[in-house]
């Protein structure tokens, strides 16, 4: 009786504070998700009122679709480079902007963070102009070979423009997380290490980096997840081109559903993507958690 009462009380409190959020989360995330899973078993084209059940044939199509796996591998490659560079650069920036060596830290921090406040579409369009007009103009005026042709028209270089723009966009954001982590490292540990004779690099390797693991868990998780889900920059910067060579997985799924009018297949691809990204992210969190140390 008593536990039941307490349960009811707890439920009331929960509903009072988290009820609206739960309701919204359930209606705009969970329900559409379940409905989407349901649609993977149909051949719906996106608009017709009737459709038939095709059981698992959409999934079979996805497994057999070479273009899907090409796009997926390209995305993995993109995620690999962006995660690596964004985190490395973000940490270097944070480290440089927390010590005593650099002046004007607040201004620089703001400057590096600003790209993250610009929407991906605008950012993509701005960089599109830079890559296809500004750089080409500079390259041709100064006779710099690699810059005289638009990078966006070459499949390999277009891939790197995506990486460059993503790095530019996210390094500042990760820098903020790293700065928060760095300022929480107890100064007595650093001082003790200094008194014991540890140099700058030694301190970084044995004290600071191990204590920064919680920050890295967050930033690596964020960059992996954003990398797999990227769409806006892809759309505005390269539009998947030249000739679909930079079509990352989100764009591929979207075009399958809405352009090829195969909603069921597109949903199946999206569900596949969900499983893969969830698996990768959970593995990453599990293993990096093991690296955590107590100060």
């Amino acid at each position: 009786m008593a536990t039941e009462k307490r349960f009811l009380d707890r439920l009331k409190t929960y509903l009072l504070f988290a009820g609206p959020t739960t309701f919204v989360f359930f209606t705009v995330i969970i329900l559409p998700f379940l409905f989407g899973v349901y649609l993977t078993f149909t051949n719906w084209d996106g608009i017709a009122k009737t459709y038939t059940f095709v059981r698992f044939s959409n999934y079979a199509t996805v497994v057999r679709d070479r273009m899907f796996w090409n796009s997926f591998l390209l995305t993995v490659k993109y995620v690999f480079y962006t995660v690596l560079i964004v985190n490395a650069l973000g940490f270097v920036l944070a480290y440089a902007l927390t010590g005593d060596t650099v002046r004007g830290q607040n201004l620089l921090r703001t400057g590096f963070f600003v790209p993250n406040l610009i929407g991906g579409i605008i950012l993509g369009l701005v960089w599109r102009f830079v890559f296809s007009n500004v750089l080409v103009f500079i390259g041709r005026s100064l006779k710099i070979g690699p810059l005289s042709y638009s990078w966006l028209a070459n499949p390999d270089k277009a891939f790197w423009t995506l990486v460059i723009v993503s790095v530019w966009q996210y390094s500042g954001y990760m820098m903020i997380i790293f700065i928060a982590g760095l300022t929480h490292i107890p100064s007595e540990l650093i001082e003790a290490a200094t008194i014991d004779g540890a140099g700058g690099f030694h301190r970084l390797r044995t004290i600071i980096l191990p204590l920064m693991v919680p920050s890295f868990i967050v930033t690596v998780f964020l960059t992996i997840q954003r990398g797999f889900m990227v769409y806006d920059v892809n759309l505005a910067l390269t539009q998947g081109g030249p000739f679909k060579s930079t079509e990352l997985i989100s764009m591929f799924v979207y075009e399958k559903a809405f352009l090829a009018q195969q909603y069921g297949v597109g949903q199946s691809q999206a569900f596949f993507l969900f499983l893969l990204v969830a698996a990768i992210s959970l593995t990453q969190v599990y293993f990096t958690k093991k690296l955590e140390v107590e100060a």
Partner: protein, 425 residues
Amino acid sequence: MRKNQLGLCVLVLALVLSFSVAVFAQDVRITILNSKGEIQTQLEDIAAYYSSITDGVTVEVIAAAVGQSPFERAVALYASGNAPALLMLDAGDVLLFQDRALALNDEKWVADAIENSLSMATAEDGRILAFPVTVEGFGFIYNKAVVDKALGGEFDPKTINTYDSLRELLDAIEASGTASLVIGPEDWSLGAHFFSLAYSAQSPDFDEVNAFMDGLKAGTVSLAENAVVNGLLDTFDLMKEYNYDKLDPLASTYDRGTELIGTGEVGIWFQGNWTWPQIADFDTTGGQFGFLPVPIGNDPEALGNTQIPVGVTKYFIVDGEQNSPAQQRAAKDFLNWLVYDAEGQKRLVVDASVIPAFSNITIAPNDPLAVSLLEYVREGKTMNFVLNLPPDHWAQVGAYMQKYLADFSDRDAFFKEVEAYWQGL
């Protein structure tokens, strides 16, 4: 507590008031989804004008971005329960909406629609589901001032009916010191328009064109062995050779193409008559433009060497599901006004440069591309505009064409890719 009650009263009162306004006012508000981005402002003007001359009807225009598939936008609007009263769709997508669109068989304009213009809008059960918005065609657009100067006299477009005569013309333009031709690298232009010639030039009989495409689907047609397809790619190779953007063939944009041809920096551009509103912005020659066919091979009699593809590319459907009967009525009235009212006709044909698909509209367009196109129509020099291609054909085959254009693949690889695309459908 008192305060709260007062607030509640005000809220309820406001709600009641807003509802009663909605109920008692006779205002009908309809929305049009426009998917011809190049006439967005003209259509907005038409909507504003129509709203001003009718009593209580307000027409609004929303746009699908240039390059965005109208299907995609329409699906999103339907899914949100917010479908416009009129949706402008691509010809090939109309029948996908047959559960949602209103049957228009009883409308007056059905009798005045030109031949074949309703075939892609008629469902199997005989319901006519859509209103043909515009007749469009494509080919090589030439800037007459540039070509006249190159030839040292009046240019007769009829002289260009073979691969060799096209090469001579390009040489002559180059010799006069102007760039001869530019290839727009847009996937929709290359995939949906240029390469569609490979299908439509197979035969003047549309059933045979369809049979050819069915053969591709079944894997029984070999592109490498097809003379028409090879001839078309020979012409494309010629275009590549003379391409103004040869060094960086994928970097150009649609807007730049309109500027190059409009200002006469380049003599010839492969595109359709829908480009006129943009070309007009750059035109310095007083509207001297026209169409040339895209010649395939050296037989002047071959299909496609004197003809250009013409077809009804865009249709309006009237939503029969999420709009009220009054809104549907207003939408139908608006369509009738476009076809039968003198002012509506003028605004559609003259202001928006639309070639209408109705025989009762006699008003002549004053845009040179439409005039040139209508000349081909009048002389019977038209061929099928293949509009029933698979929905992602333009994007996929367009990408393969881009690859071929930028020399990232050769002809064999290109044929294999196109064949694989059709067989994978």
